[in-house]
């Protein structure tokens, strides 16, 4: 094998300034980073390794769309060591980034199609990148009808509330919001995502592509509901989560069958998942 010595250090992160931190829920914040006149080279569905010096790295999906110039956004749930450290950062602090990594949502298969987005909780973060890509004024006419179904455990757990309002106001998409349990102020739909999907969304399953992301249990039952509605496995697209370190298919952690989720994924169709060991 030829050796390329010109190669850069693939593990070296670049530090970017945090422009803004947007609190989403009690344990989720969105971090907007300043790319300083650069534009991000990522495509919807990709992720990056975020590095906090002295603490470590965590793989986080990129929630901003590449059509948003000069910035990168990550919505992060405070869960482990690194995400807790990221939550302690302030505006103007610097955060290390390497990436973008992974495959993307299959954009060429999605153009000229009707798109049904289904997200649960923080699972909206990776989908938001694609949704805003599709809704961009220059891109919107490349896609047909767009329906978004978004659910969370409670009204307090909804993320991107400011964005949801923007989507609700658009007349070129259908937007449905649901929560598992409402509260005194909640006037919207109450119900689990798979149930709301079956009851409220009437589409011709052979004419639509569905892109879903959320907690594993929600994905499982949503896929079941979509299949009942008549969706075909290649038309159901989702993303997998695995523990990752390198992001480049070398460290071995995210290996499932002959695939590395960090390199060959994280986006897979349900048809691909059916042919993979269920080890995720």
């Amino acid at each position: 094998m030829a050796i390329d010595l010109e190669n850069k250090n693939i593990y070296l992160p670049r530090l970017y300034r945090i422009m803004e931190i947007i609190p989403e829920t009690s344990d989720i914040k969105t971090f907007r980073l300043d790319l300083e006149d650069e534009n991000s080279s990522h495509l919807p569905g990709q992720f990056a390794e975020l590095f906090v010096p002295g603490v470590g790295e965590a793989p986080i999906s990129i929630t901003s769309s590449p059509t948003q110039k000069g910035i990168l956004e990550f919505s992060i749930k405070r869960t482990g060591l690194v995400t807790s450290a990221i939550h302690r950062l302030n505006s103007n602090d610097r955060l290390g980034i390497r990436g973008p990594y992974g495959n993307t949502f299959p954009l060429s298969d999605l153009t000229e199609q009707n798109l049904l987005f289904i997200a649960g909780g923080i699972g909206l973060a990776p989908l938001r990148s694609l949704i805003n890509f599709v809704l961009d004024t220059e891109k919107r006419n490349q896609f047909k009808k767009v329906t978004i179904l978004y659910g969370a455990r409670s009204p307090q757990d909804l993320v991107f509330k400011w964005e949801l309002k923007r989507w609700q106001m658009r007349d070129d998409i259908t937007f449905l919001l649901t929560v598992d349990r409402g509260d005194d102020q909640w006037k919207g739909t109450v119900g689990l995502v798979p149930n709301v999907l079956k009851e409220n969304i009437q589409v011709d399953p052979l004419e639509w592509k569905s892109i879903i992301c959320g907690p594993p249990i929600m994905i499982k039952f949503t896929i079941k509901a979509l299949l009942e509605m008549g969706f075909q496995p290649p038309d159901i697209i989702t993303t997998l989560e695995m523990r990752m370190k390198c992001g480049l298919g070398k460290c071995g952690r995210c290996n499932i069958g002959p695939y590395y989720v960090c390199k060959d994924g994280p986006v897979f169709t349900y048809q691909q998942l059916q042919n993979m060991p269920e080890e995720y």
């Binding site: 094998m1 030829a2 050796i3 390329d4 010595l5 190669n7 850069k8 250090n9 693939i10 593990y11 070296l12 992160p13 670049r14 530090l15 590095f51 906090v52 010096p53 002295g54 603490v55 470590g56 790295e57 965590a58 869960t79 482990g80 995400t83 602090d93 610097r94 290390g96 594993p216 989560e241 695995m242 523990r243 370190k245 390198c246 480049l248 298919g249 070398k250 460290c251 071995g252 952690r253 290996n255 499932i256 069958g257 002959p258 060991p277 080890e279 995720y280």
Partner: protein
């Protein structure tokens, strides 16, 4: 291809002139102690030469109220590495394919690899734990870039495609016709043995299809999940990355093992490989199914038998693979 033979004394003299930068694997040291010099450095596992057990990736520090990261330039000093064919295959067939992937080349590995001159020592006394034939190797396997040496009638047979890298070849005398034939016959015998004993072509896919088989439960029962096998394995490539030092430190890459439960543990507490069964299955299938399915049939195991040798409970990967391969398509 340039070949010839030299006396043992000439070879040892040549080794001595390079002894300050000569690495020798434990297996070679054990098989051919006469090739050791005073200064040659013995390594337990061949991968230590390239894929360091403990590797600094970059430095970071807090200064002027902000974080800074500084790259570390990898060193490139030339070295010789003397290893058995099975061990050398771990580099050519497995590690190079992981760490030298175009566009994702690991600069540290590439620099060390560039400076490395491989001396492959033909294996004359295979051990009962060895099984290189099963995975496509043989005791005389060599690579055109390397210097191949083989004890031959009180002398040493040498061959290489890189005479300028291994000047010892110039001191060699040409083999006569019968000697040439002898080498060819030996080679042929070993290649035939490989062709006869090699795992069946469909083994990687067949094993993959047996993912859900109940036998894995039984196979994993004895394993302690201590990870000793993975640390002594020349092809095990999995690693961890961690930040060492609070305000001033470095990002560290260290060997890791799929035998450990935390290897795949999610921050949420979910673990895709929660028990011994999944982890043992992962080690076997990654080497004998997943890697060959990705890498044009090349096994992620070179059959050196090191893991069998050192396992505290005599867990035998060869037996496990042969047992599962027998089940493919219910052949018996």
């Amino acid at each position: 291809m340039k070949s010839g033979k030299v006396t043992k004394n000439d070879l040892v003299q040549w080794l001595k002139t390079h002894q300050n930068n000569f690495l020798v694997t434990e297996k070679v040291a054990h098989h051919q102690p006469e090739l050791l010099c005073d200064q040659s450095k013995e390594i337990k596992n061949i991968k230590e030469a390239l894929f360091l057990p403990w590797d600094k990736l970059f430095n970071y520090h807090w200064e002027n109220q902000q974080w800074n990261v500084d790259n570390i330039q990898p060193s490139t000093s030339p070295r010789f590495l003397m290893a058995l064919p099975c061990e050398a295959r771990a580099i050519y067939e497995v590690l190079d394919r992981v760490f030298l992937q175009p566009s994702e080349t690991e600069s540290g590995y590439a620099a060390r690899r560039q400076g490395l001159k491989m001396v492959i020592v033909g294996c004359i006394n295979p051990e009962p734990t060895c099984f290189c034939h099963l995975v496509g190797g043989n005791p005389y396997w060599t690579h055109p870039d390397a210097l191949f040496i083989l004890p031959f009638h009180d002398e040493y047979y040498l061959e290489t495609n890189q005479p300028e890298q291994f000047d010892i070849i110039e001191q060699g005398t040409t083999l006569n016709k019968s000697e040439k034939e002898e080498i060819e016959v030996l080679r042929k015998q070993m290649e035939e043995k490989t062709n006869q004993e090699k795992l069946p072509e469909d083994a990687p896919q067949g094993l993959y299809d047996l993912f859900e088989d109940q036998e894995w439960e039984d196979l994993s029962w004895k394993c302690l999940n201590c990870g000793a096998c993975t640390f002594l394995c020349p092809t095990c490539q999995c690693f961890d990355m961690s930040a060492e030092g609070r305000l001033k430190g470095f990002q560290l890459k260290t060997w890791d093992s799929c035998m450990f439960p935390k290897f795949t543990l999610h921050a949420s507490g979910h673990n895709p490989r929660p028990t011994f069964k999944e982890r043992v299955r992962q080690r076997v299938l990654h080497k004998f199914s997943y890697f060959p399915l990705r890498e044009e049939g090349r096994y992620g195991c070179v059959g050196c038998g090191k893991c069998i040798e050192i396992c505290p409970v005599n867990w035998n990967i060869r037996e496990a693979v042969e047992r599962m391969v027998k089940k493919i398509g219910n052949r018996s």
